[in-house]
């Protein structure tokens, strides 16, 4: 669904690249996570893929269309939910969706159905300017589905949403993916990526460091750990120990034999920990 090879982009064309030699491919029906800290090149890549930024160097095929000579018809096949909500504040939620659906040349979804889906059914006739940040975000998310996209770009889809709504949004993404929609997810939230993505790419300093499935990454890079909390000389102590390294194992046995253990959990490495380990960078 997406093929990118040797992509470069420089905003000032001065040899400083926002994206450098980026190559990857996204298969049909896949949820592909594009992960990295702010300024890593996530948005630049996404903007080139969606035609918002002009392709300077490299080859990009999106939904069967060459981005070098972008065709307006391509937009009938893709949808995009922006990180920053962008809806007409002087129009109601329904008017926003009604206007946007008429711009497409393909069969579109009913605005009422989409508003219901994102929990804004009772706000259909309220002007978007009166919405909270979270509600605007949900309206932007709903709008991205209006043309039944085959390829769905999601930029931080759960940012600013309360946990319950975020969970509903994740369920919608999973449901759409089950219908066959390919998802390109840009985020710095490793939990949502871990939960949703079939494969992830780590991008740091304009370059992709690795691409793999979260499961493989955990097997390859994750240590098996035990988190133990115990009382020593009246004081509660907490330690994280490896279940593979000999010294840690011996120390663990000592603790269990000598002290009163309060809690003990086996712990799998998170995607965030793997990201830090691989790239040497945090996600902030």
């Amino acid at each position: 669904m997406i093929e990118v090879s040797n992509l470069y982009h420089s905003y000032n064309k001065d040899g400083k690249f926002a994206v450098k030699d980026v190559s990857f491919e996204v298969k049909e029906g896949e949820i592909f996570g594009f992960l990295g800290p702010s300024g890593a090149g996530k948005s630049t890549t996404q903007n080139i893929l969606t035609g918002l930024l002009q392709l300077q160097q490299g080859n990009v095929i999106v939904a069967g269309y060459d981005v070098k000579a972008i065709s307006n018809k391509m937009f009938n096949k893709i949808g995009m939910s922006f990180e920053q909500s962008n809806v007409y504040s002087k129009m109601s939620a329904k008017e926003n969706l009604d206007f946007y659906r008429k711009l497409f040349d393909v069969k579109t979804r009913e605005p009422e159905e989409l508003l219901e889906l994102v929990g804004l059914g009772d706000k259909a006739n309220v002007r978007a300017g009166e919405f909270s940040k979270g509600m605007k975000h949900r309206l932007t998310f709903a709008r991205s589905m209006i043309n039944n996209p085959l390829l769905w770009f999601l930029d931080e889809p759960t940012t600013g949403l309360d946990p319950a709504i975020a969970s509903e949004i994740k369920d919608i993404i999973k449901a759409e993916n089950k219908k066959g929609v390919t998802v390109f997810l840009t985020t710095h939230n490793m939990y949502i990526a871990d939960d949703l993505c079939d494969r992830v790419a780590f991008i740091v300093d304009a370059e992709i460091k690795l691409i793999d499935s979260p499961k493989n990454l955990k097997l390859q890079y994750g240590d098996k750990l035990v988190e133990i909390e115990y009382i020593k000389d009246g004081e509660t102590l907490k330690e994280t120990l490896s279940t593979i390294q000999e010294d840690d194992l011996k120390h663990l046995q000592d603790i269990i034999g000598k002290y009163e253990v309060q809690t003990m959990h086996t712990k799998e490495a998170t995607l965030e920990e793997i990201f830090i380990k691989v790239t040497g960078r945090g996600l902030a």
Binding site: L53, Y88, K102
Partner: protein
């Protein structure tokens, strides 16, 4: 493509109806036309007003009514009070066997002189039939002040069209919706045309309203619309560029007001300056649009003139377009 251009226009219209500034801009031609009607006299209105004492000299009053607008009052005090008011009116009051002229002091010199002459004519019993003057009609059937104001209003409406375009684009920028539009099957050209339509239709509607309300119904409306259409190009370009380069409505509208400067300069040049200065204003598209409107409103325009003026406006606007087009394209990115 046309359907989508229309769709963008209808969205803008819907939102404009909810915005006070936009509603004011749309209503402006009606308000201005009514204002012109209230403030300017018609071609047959006399500009000389006389105040007399009622019944003091009915024959004199009847005589003077042929030459001026006569108002009568019960006594000298009432005449004095009337003359003291703001407009141009002089009193003719008896003093013994003669009459004297009562004036406020700030009346136009011609009005007082005309009153003096009328008084003398009456005393000498001069009748219209006694004149041996030959009457030559210049064929002016349109009140000059009214024509000037309507012409200015028509040009001003085209600038307001640009202002409305800027308002609608700034709205898209503030709401960040341009990015969403770019990710729909609408080309940037279609988007710009859709956004520009308001700037074309407002001057057309405004001109028709102005011409209709102010009583210039006899003009050739097609000639008028040709001039209006070509003169909107410049406002349209400025509206687009200001809309795309501003994130604030006030800034955008304030910058569009810059257009008023060449517009005012063109009008002043045509109306007040001698022929030798005219060439310095030829570069202003509004100069030629004003000239075009003037001949149409005077109902003496030929199609040759209209095409000539339109071509000059088009040429000058093309130069502006060549300069601004790259900036407009960049502003959309």
């Amino acid at each position: 493509m046309i359907k989508k251009i229309w769709l963008i226009f209808l969205r803008d219209l819907k939102v404009n109806k909810r915005d006070f500034i936009a509603v004011y801009i749309i209503a402006f031609p009606i308000l201005f036309a009514v204002g012109i009607n209230l403030l300017t006299p018609s071609i047959n209105d006399t500009t000389v007003n006389l105040a007399l004492i009622e019944g003091e000299n009915p024959a004199q009053a009847t005589y003077l009514k042929d030459f001026a607008k006569v108002e009568v009052f019960k006594d000298v005090l009432a005449v004095e009070q009337r003359v003291a008011k703001r407009d141009n009116i002089v009193g003719i009051l008896p003093k013994g066997n003669d009459y004297y002229i009562l004036q406020q002091g700030n009346e136009a010199e011609g009005v007082v002189d005309f009153a003096k002459a009328l008084l003398t004519f009456y005393e000498q019993d001069v009748q219209i039939a006694n004149t041996n003057a030959e009457i030559i009609e210049l064929g002016r059937t349109v009140p000059p002040l009214k024509k000037l104001l309507v012409n200015i209003a028509i040009l001003f409406t085209s600038v307001l069209g640009g202002m409305l375009i800027a308002l609608n684009i700034v709205e898209e920028k503030v709401d960040r919706t341009i990015r969403a539009i770019h990710l729909s099957p609408i080309s940037r050209k279609t988007f710009l045309l859709g956004k520009s339509l308001m700037g074309v239709l407002l001057p057309i509607y405004g001109t028709v309203v102005l011409v209709w309300i102010t009583g210039f119904r006899g003009v050739n409306i097609f000639q008028m619309l040709v001039i209006v259409l070509v003169s909107t190009i410049i406002s349209l370009l400025i509206g687009l560029i200001e809309g795309l380069n501003n994130d604030d409505v006030i800034n955008a509208t304030a910058n569009i007001k810059i257009l008023m400067l060449p517009m005012a300069a063109a009008i002043v040049a045509i109306e007040l300056l001698a022929d030798k200065w005219q060439k310095f204003f030829y570069w202003i598209p509004f100069y030629w649009a004003y000239k075009g409107n003037d001949v149409v409103l005077s109902q003496i325009a030929t199609w040759q003139q209209i095409i000539g003026y339109s071509c000059i406006v088009l040429l000058l606007s093309s130069v502006v377009y060549i300069y601004l087009a790259p900036k407009i394209r960049k502003g959309l990115e």
